[in-house]
């Protein structure tokens, strides 16, 4: 596409260079500019369609591109090479849990070991996530325990605000250590440094070894990730077990889940999807739908397809507005030709060939539409820079925008093309006039 843009620019540049080097062309060009200047308002109104069309395309393209990139960025944060396998509570558990209190479902360590045998999987991070109150003295915060392994840091691009994250020894030695989310740290330790202090999770105390930096939601979970507390998964398995009791509105329920989520990294982007398929086929053995496999790459490509569709739609809108603009140009060119019939007669008498007349009016049309195109680009860019600014200052809203270089070259090329296409008929009409008749015209 960049090549297209460069070719388009070169073509436009050489077209104008040819016109300007060539004497007749330069004269026609100067004349065109002069007569446009002479009828400023009329010329402006006649290219208004093109100005608005081009401006709309440039700005819509920029806003579309901006929000698309935001969405893509969200997905990319999950990692294009990653696959998320999650446990989900089956919607219909009548058959599965019989009459027991305990709902048993989800990924197991057996699944984990099976998936680990897939050669394309380079890294696996198991997580056991469950709600738990974090206590510090009389203060308690309803939080979420994320028990996992040290690799969690990399796979979720977590940055540490202070202290350290989990290390391998924490798992091996079943240490009672915890890493707090930024918001959780703020609530529990509003005035002091939480490092080396202790919090109570369930019946045990955990030493705080680090605090994570604030991070954005990433659009997947509804929980605030900044309220999480991270502990070693081995510790969690020993201290909490796999059974979790939950009290809600007068009834108690329990569920047994070994692993809530496995985030795994695949060696190669191209192998992400086949790997996802293999994992699905492994998990089919569960016999119930208590798992999901989420491949961000799928969503990435879906988003990119959506972007393409949006672009097509814009091209359609642009084509319509440029068609309308072109008709405006044709209309005004026909009027101009009639108005300047006498000039055509004079030029013909003084030796102009038909093609000289054709070219003169064609150049005029192209100059007109090019100026329109350039004004449209200016308008579009102004909107792209002004709108987010106003949105931010007055409504505190963020409008992401990214100007697409391609859209600029594209609209300029189209503006020139519109000038040529809609200029041909009026120009031919001018050229085919009988010189005697034209000279007699008042």
């Amino acid at each position: 596409m960049l090549i297209f843009s460069i070719t388009a620019i070169l073509m436009l540049a050489s077209l104008f260079a040819c016109i300007l080097i060539w004497d007749k062309g330069r004269r026609s060009f100067i004349l065109a500019v002069r007569s446009l200047w002479l009828h400023r308002l009329r010329a402006f109104l006649s290219v208004l369609g093109i100005i608005i069309g081009t401006g709309a395309v440039i700005s819509l393209m920029a806003f579309g591109e901006g929000s698309m990139q935001d969405a893509l960025e969200d997905i990319r944060r999950l990692g294009a090479n990653n696959i998320m396998v999650r446990s989900v509570k089956p919607t219909d558990d009548a058959g599965s849990s019989k009459r027991s209190y305990i709902a048993i479902y989800g990924l197991t360590y057996t699944d984990f070991d099976k998936i680990a045998t897939i050669p394309t999987v380079t890294r696996m991070v198991p997580m056991r996530i469950f709600p738990q109150e974090v206590r510090r003295g009389y203060k308690g915060v309803n939080s979420r325990i994320v028990s996992t392994i040290p690799d969690y840091l990399d796979i979720h691009n977590i940055e540490m605000k202070s202290g350290r994250f989990l290390v391998a020894d924490d798992e091996v030695l079943l240490r009672n250590v915890a890493v707090l989310g930024s918001e959780l740290a703020n609530r529990l330790f509003p005035f002091e440094d939480p490092i080396d202090k202790e919090v109570q999770l369930g019946t045990f105390f955990y030493k705080i070894i680090g605090v994570m930096k604030e991070r954005s939601q990433g659009g997947v979970s509804t929980e605030d990730v900044n309220l999480d507390v991270v502990i070693p998964i081995a510790t969690a398995r020993v201290r909490f077990g796999e059974r979790i009791f939950m009290r809600s509105a007068g009834s108690r329920s329990a569920e047994k889940v070994e692993i809530s989520q496995i985030t795994l990294t695949v060696s190669d982007t191209e192998k992400v999807r086949p790997t996802g398929e293999i994992i699905r086929s492994i998990l089919e053995n569960h016999g119930k739908a208590d798992w999901t496999v989420n491949v961000p790459l799928d969503r990435l490509e879906e988003a990119e397809r959506a972007k393409e569709r949006y672009k097509m739609l814009l091209v359609l809108i642009a084509s319509i507005s440029l068609l309308v603009g072109g008709i405006g140009i044709m209309n005004i060119m026909l009027a101009t030709v009639t108005e300047r019939t006498r000039e055509i007669g004079i030029r013909r008498a003084l030796g102009a060939k038909r093609r000289d007349i054709t070219l003169q009016f064609l150049i005029e049309a192209v100059v007109q539409t090019s100026v329109g195109g350039i004004l449209g680009i200016v308008l579009g860019l102004a909107m792209v820079y002004a709108l987010p600014f106003f949105a931010e200052t007055f409504w505190d809203a963020r409008i992401p925008a990214k100007v697409h270089f391609e859209s600029i070259t594209w609209s300029l090329t189209t503006a020139v093309a519109v000038g040529i296409v809609f200029g041909i008929y009026p120009s031919r009409r001018a050229a085919l006039m009988d010189p005697i008749e034209a000279l007699r015209h008042v």
Partner: protein, 256 residues
């Protein structure tokens, strides 16, 4: 003297709503180099049609037309454009200058369509011609800023720029008062003296009296063809706007 223009049995027939109109019915005429011909006749006599034919703006239905040794009667449109830009200069009753162009640019137009490269020397030639017709101090004026006589002088300079074999003037004084008319005719007769062939359509006898030869037409045929032994050369009180040395440089151009 060699003939520069020769028409043999030239005819032009229009068909208007299935009625054939014989505008020119077989005219034979030969014009020598350096001649000054006045073409006269009442309206409808066919003189305008004949001038259009001579000016290669129209093609004859019948007959032959030789201009500067070339048979132009059956030429294509583009070839006729070429002939016009190389061998003919036009002066119109309504001056027909382009309003968007300055004086110099207006004079330059025929060169533009010759396909000549515009350079300093061509611009200088245009400026020289503007000076010749007495407009050396109005080079950057637009036609709207000039009087009728001045506009017509620009048109005359324009008709000279391509060094034409024949200058065709269609009632050059038709829109001017008598004093300005005299100035224009004085200019034309000076050009003729310098060797330019001029064919002029007019219906005024005083204007025709400047010409060396008067051809009268009636009903599409030549009625009379008289040599004017004593053409008017100047009018008392008419100021000469011609500068001799410039005129000589023009003559030099002609011989080259």
């Amino acid at each position: 003297m060699a003939s520069v223009l020769k028409i043999i049995d030239l005819a032009k027939i229009y068909s208007l709503e299935s009625v054939l109109v014989y505008a020119v019915k077989g005219v034979t005429l030969e014009v020598e180099e350096g001649d000054f011909v006045a073409l006269m006749g009442p309206s409808g006599s066919g003189k305008s049609t004949l001038l259009n034919l001579l000016g290669c703006l129209d093609r004859p239905t019948n007959g032959q037309y030789f201009l500067a040794g070339q048979d132009v009667a059956r030429m294509e449109d583009d070839q006729l454009s070429n002939i016009r830009s190389r061998y003919l200069g036009f002066i119109f009753q309504q001056y027909n200058l382009l309003p968007q162009y300055t004086v110099v640019e207006n004079i330059e137009i025929p060169l533009l369509y010759q396909g000549a490269k515009l350079s300093n020397s061509t611009t200088n030639r245009c400026i020289g011609l503007a000076q010749l017709v007495g407009l050396g101090n109005r080079l950057d004026h637009r036609p709207m800023q000039l009087s009728g006589g001045q506009q017509q002088r620009v048109a005359i300079a324009r008709s000279l720029v391509n060094d034409p074999a024949v200058i065709l003037a269609d009632e050059p004084t038709g829109n001017l008062d008598s004093r300005t008319s005299d100035e224009i005719m004085h200019l034309l007769s000076k050009l003729n003296e310098a060797g330019k062939t001029i064919i002029m359509v007019t219906h005024e006898n005083d204007i025709a009296s400047w010409a060396k030869r008067v051809v009268r037409m009636r009903d599409g045929v030549i009625e009379s063809d008289i040599r004017n032994e004593k053409p008017t050369v100047s009018i008392e009180g008419a100021t000469s706007t011609i500068q001799t040395e410039l005129l000589e440089s023009l003559v030099l151009n002609q011989s080259k």
